[in-house]
């Protein structure tokens, strides 16, 4: 089912949580709402579910305006951040709850309920825990039960609030892949909220980046990562280096570096900042004219598959961080205090009317 979010605005007292947010979600899509805390992503998710009422705007699900429809009748599945499992009910009763509270005429028989719950338990790979209580499950198990409970009522859309937020790193990465597979299997329109860019990039078909109640950019993980619309998104998705300078008639001069910036062809000598991802910094022993900067190795940290090197540039006041592969690092054989040259590539230049 498709979801159209149209011009949603929401205040909490004096705080503006959402400013005129519009997003179109196609049937069967898995969308990740990505943003820092306070960006309004959870509020938007709760508005889609009907747990909050927007000040203005509409939510259209499958062509039907659901803005005024009560939570009960929206047919959404919601997985809460802390799962909100009913602690006095067994796993079985938790999953059966949505079926048991249906009006008598729609309510499945006891046998049907049992069959359905068992099927869902199998789906989430937890057949053995039907008679346990939520307190007897691990975090990852609770997460999957919460998902099974949401799916039991056959929702039109599935909403997940920080689905992996409360789990430890290993369980988290397992569950991510599992959720991705499950979505491919069920093809149910889903929206999840996360503040973890890696999670959004890995799981989602499409990412919607939010900040201060606004949608900053929306697109596939590749699009958003490769062509970030503004410095906020750029710096939110991974670590970046900043190079300050000026832009004049399509040419940017950032310290010792000259770069052609055709998109700024009409600008007339204004301050600008070049953003470079840490893995787009390469290190050389000999300078390339107009493209590299003198630098001194300040620190070397080896982090699993990559090596992070910090350089002092411009008399050490400024630093540049580079992420090198192990192999590149071994070839260079860098030592602390050594003088080398760093060369940024994929520089994205934004003129300075945009402040992060």
């Amino acid at each position: 089912m498709s979801i159209q979010i149209e011009n949603i605005t929401k205040h909490f007292g004096g705080f503006q949580a959402l400013r005129d947010v519009s997003i179109d979600i196609a049937p069967g899509e898995l969308v990740g709402l990505l943003g820092p805390s306070g960006s309004g992503k959870t509020t938007l998710l709760r508005i889609i579910a009907g747990l909050e009422t927007p000040d203005r705007g509409t939510i259209v699900v499958d062509g039907e305006d659901t803005t005024g429809v009560s939570v009960r009748r929206r047919g959404v599945g919601f997985v809460f951040q802390h799962y909100a499992l009913f602690r006095h009910m067994t796993v079985f009763e938790n999953i059966a709850f949505g079926l048991r509270v249906k009006p008598r005429k729609d309510r499945p028989s006891g046998r049907e309920i049992k069959a359905k719950v068992m099927k869902l338990l199998k789906l989430v790979q937890l057949e053995g825990v039907a008679d346990r209580y939520p307190s007897q499950l691990s975090g990852g198990q609770r997460q999957r039960i919460a998902l099974a409970r949401a799916l039991a009522v056959e929702p039109r859309v599935l909403l997940l609030d920080e689905p992996f937020g409360a789990l430890d790193a290993k369980v988290r990465s397992e569950l991510r892949q599992w959720l991705r597979q499950l979505h491919d299997e069920l093809q149910i329109t889903s929206v999840f909220v996360t503040h973890d860019q890696e999670e959004a990039l890995e799981v989602a078909d499409r990412i919607v980046v939010m900040n201060e109640g606004r949608v900053e950019q929306s697109g596939t993980p590749e699009e958003v990562y490769e062509n970030p619309a503004n410095p906020f998104i750029l710096s939110f998705l991974g670590s970046v280096n900043l190079f300050h300078g000026r832009v004049h008639m399509g040419q940017a001069r950032l310290g010792a570096i000259d770069i052609a910036v055709p998109e700024h062809a009409a600008t007339d000598d204004i301050p600008a900042v070049g953003y470079v991802r840490s893995h787009d910094i390469s290190v050389e022993r000999q300078p390339t004219d107009g493209a590299s900067i003198r630098a001194e190795v300040k620190n070397i940290h080896s982090i699993g598959p990559i090596v992070r090197v910090t350089f002092g540039v411009n008399g050490k006041d400024e630093t540049v961080q580079a992420e090198l592969t192990r192999e590149a690092f071994r070839k260079l054989a860098l030592k602390k205090g050594e003088r080398v040259y760093v060369r940024p590539s994929n520089v994205r230049v934004f003129v300075e009317d945009y402040q992060i």
Partner: protein, 290 residues
């Protein structure tokens, strides 16, 4: 080695002799003010044996007092229970302006002394009160009659249930209710299937405390009762009358009933608390699973 170990221990807890002295002091204190009087109730009640004891309890005035006490509790406890549930729901499941003030006002009756709690109803419904003349005309009696006793009892037991439920429901949050609604449950289904099971113990606890106070209230009821034997005497008032008539055995026999009620209340209270403590916390179980 033992010596150094002993010394380290000494810095972390009191030396054993000091522990003994402190424990004995505490138990003496409790004994003097609690256990001794409690024992005295039963000892005095049975001082002349079981015959006079049961005779005192079977006395028609005593039976009338028991009946009135039961009626009073049967009216006031359910009313305050319904109020407590409504107030706790409104206060813990929603945000609104003036919430703190409301919570403070619900607690007010606890800080009003019993005599004043009775007095305010005399001021409204008494002969010289606001509604007194009108009530008199229609020969309807509230003060110095059963309705006054019930009103005063409702007042003094007003906060018990609400007070027990509010912190409990606050701690439980709103997520489970939201989850139930998303799954399609109606408001009443949500309350009875999700909220109520989670607060059952707190509810029982609030109700038994409310009941104990409703049956045992003395000061407030004494002011509005008029002390008419067999008609407007609750158990505590009956105890007072018997005591002032120097019928000590009967007074303590009736008092022993109230003391047993108090002990039963404490037993239920300890039991619910014990059950709550015995259920391992989620964190603890999590540690077991890992």
């Amino acid at each position: 080695m033992t010596n150094s170990q002993y010394k380290r221990r000494e810095n972390l807890t009191e030396p054993v002799p000091v522990q003994w002295i402190l424990a004995i002091l505490a138990i003496l204190f409790l004994g003097l003010f609690l256990f001794l009087p409690l024992a005295a109730v039963f000892s005095q009640a049975l001082a002349k044996g079981f015959g006079p004891y049961f005779e005192a309890l079977g006395n028609p005035d005593a039976l009338a007092a028991i009946r009135l006490t039961l009626i009073t509790a049967a009216v006031s406890v359910p009313l305050n229970l319904v109020f407590g549930l409504a107030a706790a729901w409104a206060i813990t499941k929603f945000d609104f302006r003036g919430k703190n003030l409301l919570v403070t006002m619900i607690d007010l009756p606890f800080s009003v002394s019993p005599v004043i709690s009775g007095l305010i109803f005399v001021l409204i419904f008494g002969l010289q009160g606001w509604m007194g003349p009108w009530l008199n005309e229609h020969s309807f009696k509230i003060v110095f009659a059963v309705p006054g006793i019930i009103l005063a009892t409702i007042f003094v037991t007003f906060p018990f249930v609400a007070r027990e439920l509010i912190p409990l429901m606050e701690a439980q949050g709103r997520e489970e209710e939201e989850a139930a609604l998303v799954l399609g449950a109606s408001g009443l289904q949500t309350f009875f299937r999700v909220t109520l099971p989670g607060i059952r113990e707190g509810l029982v606890y609030g109700v038994i405390l409310c009941n104990a106070r409703a049956m045992g209230e003395f000061g407030a009821v004494s002011v509005v009762s008029g002390h008419i034997r067999g008609l407007t005497n609750t158990l505590p008032l009956h105890v007072e009358i018997l005591y002032n008539e120097y019928d000590f055995t009967a007074a303590f026999a009736v008092a022993s009933l109230l003391a047993m009620l108090a002990l039963a209340t404490l037993a239920v209270k300890s039991l619910t608390q014990w059950k709550r403590a015995r259920r391992p916390s989620i964190e603890f179980e999590e540690a077991l699973v890992r």
